[in-house]
């Protein structure tokens, strides 16, 4: 046989995933998978590709960032929301709680109910102001809780940011065009291609998955898109004001609606009652998230 068998084999592999192979072709594919190491490798790599495409699709990450729908397109709006929110969730999926301490300006009515609180929070979050985030990933077990990730992220608009873990193991940032990263005893990596930076650093950088989040974010590092989160809550969560031990804050609790399987099971906002500043967001993740 003089022709390259790869195209034929690839046709069989893709036909298999499409479910279009005849019984004869299925036998042919099985035969090849038994006899050819090259065929096995090729099939395995196609299988991984297929799995990734399904996973990315399930997480709403296959569309171009620019195609994230706007609010005037109700028919497809949930896709955009899902995409942005899930990217926030993914690195934290097995966390029992994630705490985001945030600072931004806002305004608050004197007397409010849960819906008003949410609405005002959305308006406040929409303001383009500098923000400093403290992100803690807290996990609990029988011996208590431990902080497994503790980062400070400063945002300055225009995609400018500086991100540094509490440990000081590294610092990374961007002026909106170039991205850089440095460790205390190492060189400074600079690139305009963030994905390239991530690739270069994959063996060197702790919290590697953070880079993926940044890369996949159309808006901000880590997708700390509070507006998107609040809109998501409005659409998919039952909200109520709950009593807070602090007289200086409102506490808004959002519980995922029955039948919905995506997102944290519960989200709690702590809001300063005078200034409207959202002080903290706590999101409880559980293994429920495994099933979407």
């Amino acid at each position: 046989m003089t022709s390259d068998p790869k195209p034929v084999f690839e046709h069989l592999v893709i036909g298999h995933f499409d479910g279009t192979l005849s019984e004869v072709e299925e036998r042919e594919l099985a035969e090849l998978l038994v006899t050819s190491e090259e065929a096995k490798e090729l099939f395995a790599s196609h299988m991984r590709l297929e799995g990734r495409l399904h996973s990315l699709g399930r997480d709403g990450l296959l569309r171009e960032p620019s195609s994230v729908p706007k609010a005037d397109s109700e028919a497809v709006q949930p896709v955009g929301q899902q995409s942005r929110f899930r990217s926030l969730r993914m690195p934290l999926i097995v966390s029992t709680a994630v705490l985001l301490a945030m600072l931004f300006r806002g305004f608050w009515p004197a007397s409010v109910d849960a819906a008003e609180v949410l609405q005002e929070a959305r308006q406040a979050a929409a303001e383009q102001v500098d923000r400093t985030y403290r992100l803690m990933d807290v996990r609990g077990d029988g011996d208590g809780v431990s902080i497994v990730r503790n980062l400070k992220i400063t945002l300055r608009g225009g995609r400018r940011f500086v991100l540094q873990p509490q440990s000081g193991a590294y610092v990374m940032g961007s002026d909106g065009q170039e991205y850089w990263m440095a460790r205390p005893d190492g060189p400074v990596f600079v690139t305009r291609d963030f994905a390239g930076l991530a690739h270069e650093l994959k063996h060197r950088m702790p919290n590697r998955r953070l880079l993926d989040d940044v890369i996949n974010s159309p808006d901000e590092p880590l997708l700390l898109d509070i507006s998107g989160l609040l809109k998501l809550i409005e659409d998919r969560y039952a909200i109520e004001l709950v009593e807070s031990p602090q007289t200086t804050e409102y506490r808004l609790q959002a519980t995922r609606r029955r039948g919905l399987r995506t997102g944290p099971s519960m989200i709690t906002f702590h809001v300063d009652s005078d200034s409207g500043v959202v002080l903290k967001v706590s999101m409880s993740f559980s293994i429920h998230l495994l099933k979407f």
Partner: protein, 207 residues
Amino acid sequence: MKRNDQQQISGKIVSGFGRGRTWKAGDLTVNEKPLIQQYLQLRSEFMGYLYAITRDAELAEEVYQNAAVVVIEQAAGPEQIHNFRAWAKEVVRRQALHAIRTRQNAVKHGRPVAPELLEVISDVFTGDRTEETVVQQEVSALQHCLDGLPGEKRELVALRYERDAEFDEISRLVNSTPAAVQRALSRIRKTLHTCVQRRLQLAEELV
């Protein structure tokens, strides 16, 4: 160590997360991540196999969840796992074959996979020794390659994989024929696969 609280998964009550153990993949000593976290990180690899033998995204997802329960139960136990990836593959394989046997009629995409092919694919899956670093590199490479797709092609991919849509459903959305959609998606997948492999090769040459 394990969590005190209990969490509900697919109608079953199971104990929560256990700590992972130190284990080895080739020469790489991996950290003590919780087993379930390790399992989640292998999701795409497992889903690829599950879809290959079920051709049903819902069933594949269900099997993946059931295997997750096994992982969590294992995490709560005293036994050490020295090669989590290999162990988890076997769990996924067994769960998948069980599910297929009991849900033959649930296959969405045409007839079920022929038993002999199913067995061979399972062997490919469990026998795949591709290093985890390569698997991770493929993830980044695919993202690059997806970014390089023209908008309309990327839209086709999204339509196909976001909802596990059939070709005729997609064809109605894009005003085409099912056969044309299938051909287009076939070409796109080949393009993506080639692109990923090229990027990996390039990265290898640069090292």
